[in-house]
Point group: D2
Chain length 259, copies 4
């Protein structure tokens, strides 16, 4: 933990761990969870990137450094968060992990090393996070609610459909779905809620002038990009679901999206 060492973990406070940090979904989740009384740990490869420094100003948000494709680093992350704040009951994996070098490259053109990087940074990192979450949550006494904790994976349109010139990303996204499905079937009967949220849209990060901006799709003033603050509400609602009625998968898209 790079900040706020004075936090004293409490049995009453819920701990969330968000792995992956961008100005979109991760930042919105961190703020929403903090506003709802969570102590929030957020981890990125570079803990000093601007969005992290901005989030770290919030008393309930704590920034960590972690390369999630590395199993040992993820183990250390969970150990550090648990020592600093307590064991997380909500874990969110929100890493795209796509190598810039394979963006819109055809099967014949993509570099196999970058395909592997994408698999490691996106799908294997999800496995690493899932594994530590499973170990940690299994170790908890079963609360009266029967709900030991929640693990949520963010996923993309490419898991619904592998698009042309997007093979590596489709491989990573669908691998992540395979993990989420398998983990849900294994761990839900143990009281661990596993879910994935598919963002079938560009996520538009709010700008100062009220517009939204997406790294690839540009700027819009309309509602045709997913608002990350709205997405964050769904993550919180999933975590709050009663174990008699758990959703495994929710796909979110704007009103005017083609699908």
């Amino acid at each position: 933990m790079l900040d706020h060492p004075e936090v004293s973990p409490s049995a009453q406070t819920e701990i969330a761990l968000i792995v992956g940090a961008g100005p979109g979904i991760s930042a919105s989740c961190a703020r929403l969870l903090a506003a709802n009384g969570f102590q929030v740990a957020i981890a990125a490869r570079t803990a000093t990137k601007p969005v992290m420094l901005e989030l770290a100003k919030h008393a309930a948000i704590h920034c960590y450094s972690c390369d999630a494709g590395n199993a040992a680093e993820v183990e250390q992350l969970f150990a550090a968060v648990t020592a600093d704040l307590g064991a997380p009951t909500l874990v969110i994996h929100n890493i795209d992990g796509r190598s810039a070098g394979i963006f819109r490259k055809g099967v014949a053109e993509a570099d196999a090393d970058l395909v592997l990087d994408t698999l490691v940074n996106s799908a294997l990192s999800a496995f690493n996070v899932a594994q530590q979450a499973a170990r940690s949550m299994r170790g908890r006494d079963l609360p009266e609610s029967g709900h030991r904790g929640t693990v949520i994976f963010t996923n993309a349109s490419a898991t619904l459909k592998g698009f042309a010139k997007s093979a590596a990303f489709a491989m990573a996204c669908q691998a992540k779905t395979g993990l989420a499905q398998s983990m849900a079937r294994e761990l839900m009967p143990e009281g661990i809620h596993v879910a994935q949220v598919i963002i079938d849209a560009a996520v538009g990060v709010p700008q100062a002038d009220g517009s939204r901006k997406h790294w690839a799709a540009g700027v819009t003033k309309d509602d045709n990009m997913a608002d990350p603050d709205q997405i964050a509400q769904v993550y919180l609602q999933l975590h709050q679901q009663h174990r008699s009625t758990w959703a495994f998968e929710v796909a979110l898209r704007p009103w005017n999206e083609k699908w």
Copy 2:
């Protein structure tokens, strides 16, 4: 409207219409929506059945009689609700519609007339309700939110997978999904949120002693039946989603369900 003729519709109050009335999801939705400030119309073939009489005691819940498989009756229902309460902005179709006579009958044994009854009572009734909702919501001025209203279909496991000895029900459920998908693609760009909630479980109606009871699966004291009060929360959350992030489909199942 069979009750509470004194309601004076208000621009500020939201109107919900629930078609289909059992002691499970419909009753839970009616109570939750009423508790959240909605005026609620609820319609069943027999408006005097016990659950309806019980719901009608609530000042904000209003009971109507309608055979939803009959297009003319559905048109009259919407006209009556609109006249009595105002145009609904949330419409829920929650009719199973399965003929008792085809329950667990094989393809060789089922009666074709009952297969047709099931298609009419379940899938065609969904179309009838969808059509009136589309007409009514399209007629509204577009509010600042860009969200003219929400139509939610309840669906069952059989839409995910057609089980043996369940052909007629699988036909009706999957037909309903076809309707919902087509309607979503048509009407979401006009500001109408279309969604379906798949209950991949038995719905357990709470009993006086704290147990839950399902018409076919019997009684349980555990959380292995879906709690209709929890399901109702999802319907309300879907209606409250911002149009930048609409979910089309959510499947709910208990922690220990096989799937």
Copy 3:
């Protein structure tokens, strides 16, 4: 049977029954099966339509009249075919059944009576045919191959995805998929192979000049419409599959189709 009364059924000859008759898939299947030694019965509402008269010129193809939405007529059809030719071991349901009046009509505009007609002519007719096939094939002694017979449903893109302004057709197509899934799970363990072939394309009927023509998509000289003679090969291959390796579903589309 309207023709060739001299046929003497033989234990060695396979009997196929095709319900639905157009110049595309049904005609191609009839010709291919006849060329492969089957006695072929083909049924349409109007047994005297041009394609039927043309097919009836083939000694091994026999035309019948049947409104497949009517359970009693389908029962009579199977009785007549069995009496004339023998019990069919390959049954193909190839009825689109869409009412012209609901083509490209939105949910608000479509006529509920035509939606019901579409459900009856497409999905209920599939049930009627499936039921008679199940009864007939179950009655056969189990051959050494363990394969009592094959039932194949033709289906359309709308079962993969409900498109805008296509609600009734999506309902009917997905209902048919529900039937096929349920029936496969029920009857495959009894040695009856159930399959559906999804034509994710326009079917182009060969014209005299080598072009292909589709009722709605027009004429093409390219391979961008599905060739019904090629489709028919898949039906025959499905029927010939060994019971250790049965395919339930095959979707066929041209090389340049968007999907």
Copy 4:
């Protein structure tokens, strides 16, 4: 090429390349294709394993050594096969790639290194093969049929559904599906048929006494394991499909399989 150096490639002969070699699907495909006039190259990590030595006795089957998880080795394999036999027009990727060490391991127990091995050996090897096939087939002049070649991926039940205690395998299988979907959408419009065959069953290798044997499921005398000779027929049929009617996916399962 480790055998038969005397082969003289001919424009008329079709060349098939099978990557992955076990006694099941690969061996059956090799024999069937050879019997149908193909020159067949088959590659495995260990070209001297018993099944390879057995296959190499056939004059039209040629064995190669290749670690398909290594992009450079796959490039060399295609170069060698092309030099020896000619450019392949049918490429089959048939590698399971699952590390024995993660078999039936839960998410908490599996070793992250073995998860990565599984992704590399199964999904990345599929990418490597797909890439070389795309480069090679694209380089061909378009034949009159418009069909430059076929790439077929073998896949498993885990791509349809991620089972408990099978996360790594589900990840690899679903990644492979993402690759196949993306590649099909990219390359089918260029005349390259991309397909995947899902074996939703144990593959039973024929034994001398007429029984079948599966490495994990044991021995059976019934038809409840998929017969690899039957599976091979489907691969050949897929390759022979006309480009107006290409199937992307076929799942095969025995008559009595639960699904």
